[in-house]
Each structure stands twice: as C-alpha cells, then as structure tokens.
Symmetry: C2
Subunit: 446 residues, 2 copies
C-alpha cells in the first residue's frame, strides 16, 4: 500500500466547503428559511442544475460566466443539439419552469426555490463560483396586486428575527418614483440607467461623487442634480411627492408605495424594521416597481443581506403570456460567510446529536444500545460510542464533538439498575434510576 500513488486533495478556489460545525449553522438557517417561506404559503420547486444553453443565453448574459457541460469522454449516440450549461441564478429557471408548465400551475404562483447556482467568475475574496440562493417569487397571470409587494418584507422580517443576528431594516422604494423624479428633474430617458446607477452607489461613494456622476453621466444641470439628491436623502413625504406636478409615472409610483406601506401596517410589521428610502435604486434594469434592500443596523459593512423587487414580465423570452411578479433573494453562502467573518454567527457543535451513550464495559453492549434506542424513540438525537476505548477517551471525544450529555454505566450502575448522566458543559454528573433516563436527559438538554 505504501507505494500507491496518492492524489492529495486541494480545495478549488471559489467553491466553498464548510466543516461540520459550520454546516450545522447553515442547516439551522436553511430550516428557518424553509419554515418561514411555507408559513406565507410559498410552495417549493426545484429545477435541474442545468438548462439548455439557448434558455440561459436568451437574456444576453455574459457568456464567460456560464459553465457549459460536456462528457469527459464522448459517448455513443451523443445528441449535440442538447447543449447544456449550469444555471447562474434561479430567476431564469423560474421563468422557464412557469412557461413550460403553465397549464398545470395555478396563479398566483407563489414559489420558493433554494438551490446552488454557479458563476464562472474570477474568484476573489467574498466572490463564490458556487453558492446557495434562497428565492421567493409571486407570479401573477396578467396582473398582480401591490398587496403581494407588502407580503415579501414580512417574510424577510420573520426569517431574520429568528436567525438572531441583530437589528435589521428593510428599505423599500419604487422605481417609478425614482424615474418620475428623474423626469421632473429633466433627465433624458436614455440617461435613466446612468442616473439610477449613480444613485445606487450613494452609500459607497457619497453625495458629492454621486452629484458629479449625475452631472457628467446623466447630463443633469448641477443645481438640479443637487436638488434631486436633497429630495432623495430627506425623510420621504409621500403626500408632498404626490402633489408634485409633471410626471404620471411619479404619481403611479407614489400610489404603489403607499399601498405597500398600508399593507405592511395591516400585516402588523413593526415600524422599526422597515422604512421607505428613496435612494434605493437596485442596479438591475429588470425591476419596474417596488424594490427592496435589507441591512443590518449595527453591521452595515455586511452589505445588503436580502434584496429584490417587482418586475412587469417574468418570462417574455419563453412565453407570450404576461407574467408580472415580485420576489426577493437571499444569497445564503455569501451571507453566511460574512456572518462567520464578522463573528455574528459562530460555529458550535460538530454533531446534531445531544447525547453520547458511552460504552465503558463491552459486556454491557446490548444495554448501551437499548439505552440509545430509548432516547431516540423519545426524540432525543443520540450517538453510541462504538469502539473499545477507555472511558476517558470516550468523554474527550464527547467534549470535542460538542455533545451536551454523556450517559455512563458500568457494573456499579447496572447492579443497582441505575445510570450516571453527565452534563458535559458543567461537568456535573448524577446517578439516576435507569427508568428516569429520558426525563433526566430532557431536563439537561432543554
């Protein structure tokens, strides 16, 4: 065996892989996210990791970021017409899914989708080439009321309250309001994108530089650029905005924003977890109404932890039906990585089990196994130590892995029909009657 060729495994840059104690934290988050998505009536779907190339490239995405598939060695009967590539987001697959299965779905279609996506980016700190996205979207058939735009932040609120990473605020705006204000401030329509891009970078580069960009890139006069920025950065007054003349788009945007705000209040959203913020633009061309961004109040350096918005037509590349929608996405891998780095989430135990049944005397193996079965039947996740090692080594293993409780028993315990139960955090241990096992352990792990 010693002359065998060993291939030493190396990590692949951009493809993160968690250790068990980190993965257990990710699993906790995934469970909360799934639970809350379902609480609001979103149904799970899952699409294949691959799509036909023609589907993925329909939107004119950067092709070098897409990973194409081919067989390592060509097989017989290969069908070259089915060129496939890995999906780079969950929105294109949703659009394809809804178009393909249209007649079998019921609208409004509320779906959630939690899957890995792949992007062939040059790897750099904080950029991943494989990562989890957790998306929800509500897709209407022909129309979709703004009530849906109010439900989305409630889902986000439910999730992040439970994850427990400090205070957060969901900032809400409407692209029509921004466009209307650009209109009123004399920005030509072909410069809207440039202006929105500038506004979107406000937090990064500051007011002064944004003003310069609005002047140079969006062709605004200096005084109008400053007036616009003044308006955007002042606490928004929807009534005052509604009274502004000169843009039907602005009026519609303000109406939508008001409807969303009223919906949020009716849904019981606390006032301090959301606010209207006219500086939220979202880079993507895609959004046409409500837009969202979510920040941690005490850790703004983490960036947006969840963002999304409303779009007029999900699947115009794949179907002639008009499918408006609204949705939001959590980039879980990136978020988790930043929360670990910032110490806001900490890896804990290396096992989901709370109890280790030790095996100090192998004459009693059958008893140890029976104890483990009893705990498991009571819903307590349990491991049995299976190897012939000294009790001290078994307890070290229990500490290292992060079990909460060890069950210990030998001649003395079994002679009295009793057990020793050890609280591994405090080191305290107590002798209990054997029939009290489940009760005693339940108290300790509560």
């Amino acid at each position: 065996m010693s002359d065998k060729q060993i291939i030493k495994p190396q990590p692949i840059s951009g493809f993160p892989e968690w250790l068990p104690e980190q993965k257990l934290v990710e699993e906790r988050l995934l469970r909360i996210i799934r639970r809350e998505f379902e609480r609001f009536g979103f149904t799970p779907i899952e699409t294949p990791a691959v799509e036909r190339k023609e589907i993925l490239t329909a939107k004119g995405i950067v092709e070098k970021e897409i990973y194409a598939l081919s067989r390592l060695a060509a097989g017989e009967g290969e069908d070259p017409s089915t060129e496939m590539a890995l999906h780079f987001d969950l929105t294109v697959p949703l659009a394809r899914y809804v178009s393909q299965h249209n007649s079998q779905l019921s609208f409004q279609f509320r779906r959630y989708q939690i899957q890995k996506v792949w992007r062939g980016e040059r790897p750099q700190a904080g950029r991943f080439r494989e990562f989890y996205q957790c998306d929800i979207d509500i897709v209407g058939n022909g129309s979709l009321s703004a009530l849906n735009d109010a439900e989305i932040p409630c889902v986000i609120h439910s999730i992040f309250s439970q994850i427990g990473i400090g205070r957060f605020v969901i900032r809400i705006n409407n692209r029509k309001v921004l466009q209307g204000l650009l209109e009123i401030h004399g920005v030509p329509q072909d410069r809207y994108q440039a202006a929105l891009r500038a506004i979107d970078s406000l937090e990064k580069i500051g007011e002064e530089k944004v003003a310069n960009e609005l002047i140079s890139d969006a062709g605004m006069a200096a005084d109008r650029a400053r007036a616009l920025l003044e308006l955007l950065t002042t606490a928004p007054d929807l009534d005052a905005l509604r009274r502004m003349d000169g843009s039907e788009t602005l009026r519609r945007g303000v109406d939508e924003l008001s409807e969303v705000a009223a919906g949020l209040r009716a849904l019981g959203m606390p006032d301090d977890v959301w606010r209207i913020d006219l500086t939220i633009a979202r880079g993507l061309d895609y959004y046409t109404g409500t837009v969202y961004e979510t920040q941690l109040v005490d850790n703004p350096e983490i960036g947006s932890i969840c963002s999304g918005g409303r779009y007029d037509d999900l699947a115009s590349n794949y179907t002639r039906q008009n499918l408006p929608g609204v949705g939001i996405s959590i980039g879980l891998t990136r978020l988790l990585s930043r929360l670990f780095d910032a110490g806001l989430l900490k890896p804990g135990a290396q096992t989901p089990a709370t109890v280790l049944v030790t095996t100090m005397d192998r004459r009693f193996l059958a008893d140890y196994l029976a104890l483990a079965s009893e705990l498991r039947r009571a819903g307590i996740d349990t491991e049995v130590y299976t190897e012939p090692k000294r009790l001290g080594d078994q307890l070290k293993y229990a500490d290292r892995k992060g079990f909460r409780v060890a069950v210990v028993a030998g001649d003395s315990e079994f002679a009295e029909n009793s057990l020793t139960v050890k609280d591994l955090a405090s080191g305290a241990q107590m002798r209990i009657p054997r029939e009290n096992l489940v009760e005693a352990v339940s108290v300790l792990v509560r």
Copy 2:
C-alpha cells in the same frame, strides 16, 4: 411584443423536474430522511457539485459518464490546471472530504449527505442523469466495530416506517461469508467476482441460470454449484456455518454477521423488518463485509429501495490513513419516481399552506391581512388571495390548489365581529366569533 422571438422551453431527457404537488411529496420525504439521520447522530456535510477531474477519475470510473465543466466563452486568466467535473456519487466526495479535512474532523465520523449527483448515461426509462442521493456513512480511523453495521439498518427502519409505503424487509449478508463459501466450494480466487455477479442476479434470472453461470463463468463443478445454491437459498443457520471447515474467511464473516444480528436485537429492531439472506452479494467490488439491500414486501418489482455495506478503506486514493467505513444510500429520485408510478405515493396539494384568507370586499383588505398574520403567528401556514376576483373564483382557486380551509368575511361578518370558516374538503362552513379564528382553524386542519 408579438414579433418578439419566443424560445419554447422543452424538457431535457434524463433531468426530471417535479410539479409542485410532486415536489411537496419529495420535501416530506427529505424531511423524514434528514430527521432520522440526525436522530442517529449523523452530521450533515455538503461538498461542491464539482471536483477536480483527477479526484473523480482516480478510481478508474467510466469517463464518458462524467460531465466536465468549461466556460461557455473563455475568460481571461483561465487556469487550465483546474479541470473540473460534476460528481457522479457522494462516496468519492466523502473520501476526498475526509482526507482533506482529516485533522479537523473527529472520528468516528458519522456524516449524512443529501445532494444531487450527475451521470452522463444514455437516458432511458427509470434512468436519470441528475438525481438525489441520500447517503449515510460511519468512517473510523484505523478500525470500526461491527456495532456500526447494526446501527445502519435501524436508521433505514426508522425512515421507511415513517414514509408509509407498506411492509419492507432489510436483507443482510456478509461478503466474507460468501467468499468463504466460494473458497470451500472450490472456486478459484480469480473467479470470485464472476461467481458473486452470478449469485447477485439470482432474483432476476432464477436458480437454473445462476447454476449455469457458476459452472461456465466461475469454473465450478455442476454438483458443487448446485450444493452452493442449495446452501445459499436455505434459511441460514449461523451455527452450522460456523462449524464448516476449511475457511478462516467464512468464520470471520459468520462472527461479524452474528455480531450485527445481536446488535439489531439489542437496538430493538422488530424481527419482521430484517433477515439474514446469504444470496445478497451486491455487485460492487468495493464492499468487504456486511452488505444490505431493502425491498418492499408487497411490491418487489420496485427493486432495492436502499442498499449499501461495509468497506475496508474509504480513501486509499487520497490518504495513507486507513479509514474503514459502513454506509447506505437511498436513490431518492429513482425511488420517488417508481413510487409515483406504482401509486404508492400520490401527489396531493399544490401548496404547503392549509388556509386561504379570501378577500371578497376590498374595503376590508387591512382586516384580511391582519387575519392572515394572526394565523401565521399561530404557526398555521396561510395565503391571502390578493387579486380583485369574485369570491366564487377565489374558492375555486382554493380547491384547485388544495387548501384545507378558506376564511371568508364581508360586511355581514365584520358588522358582527365574526368570520365564516369553510372546510374545503366537506364544503361545510360555520360562522365563528372573530377571536376564535386560530382555535376554529386548528380544529379543522388537525
């Protein structure tokens, strides 16, 4: 818009995609599987979908079944040395993971892994090119007691009892027993694989043909082939096997099998869900001790729903450490597809939510939203109907999607501070005081 080019989405052969009512069934199974894996102390890990090519091909797998990755368009700074491909199982990634992170893991390492895998097979009925595997393995460092081999069938038992697809039996054998019997019956060592392959096909092709194969492929004399088959197909008597002379391997296999059987009894496994079956060989060269197969008693045509076994060394390609292990795998996608086909699992509702709050009068929108929030806070998954449609259409939508309860309220209800709650299965409806909402709905969905 009508002159826009539409790309009509088409399914890709071999890449299954469930409708929501099917995906909800898959989710239910995934939850049971995860829950039971953790009950037995298995910790989740997840590896990237891709591995370096050199890792995947180390075992001399058929290369044409591996999907390699490349960028759709070459990017700058491409590193050609990192050739990547999609994993085709979860065992090679586990071996690589354990080798790479060895110093950070605690052994015994009990891990579960539920991920998609990809195989570039020619698609045909029941063969998938993308499918879920749900794997557990217990990996030891240098040694691993046979107690672990007894725990594995208990996990399987817990899972399939809860899924509820009828009676099943876990058939257990030991490769050493088979090899010892081949030895005793005069099969030369270089014909063991041929003999095991023949025995493995017993159920498919019958005793007569297996005898012929043992004679022609494994070089056995006709009488010894028949004697061997007689022995294998008779109810096994471990004591009689132990008394047979001429094979140390047989004796060790019988000892292991006895230890596993004793463990199963100690763990409280009911007698009717498992049995020792000397005809179980498992095709793979890989296994060296205990082997498992699981069948549905009343639907044997479904094939093995879960199989696995014990191996001497998990990762000899990637590390010089000796890592023996035992594990089992559920091929969830294939299983689910067969269970749907056989009618053993049936797709139900299109939504995880149980309650639809209808919105018959939009003057009361704020009230409807508040009702939905109240239900959600009580842990009841709820959707609000958001579009301005007639109540009849809303109730049709509720039926189609499979909600259990609809909440209805208009002028008359709100004037009396009451609500109407409709049981959608029976059609029965009742007027309740508004404050009894959660209680009334809880009774209906129980």
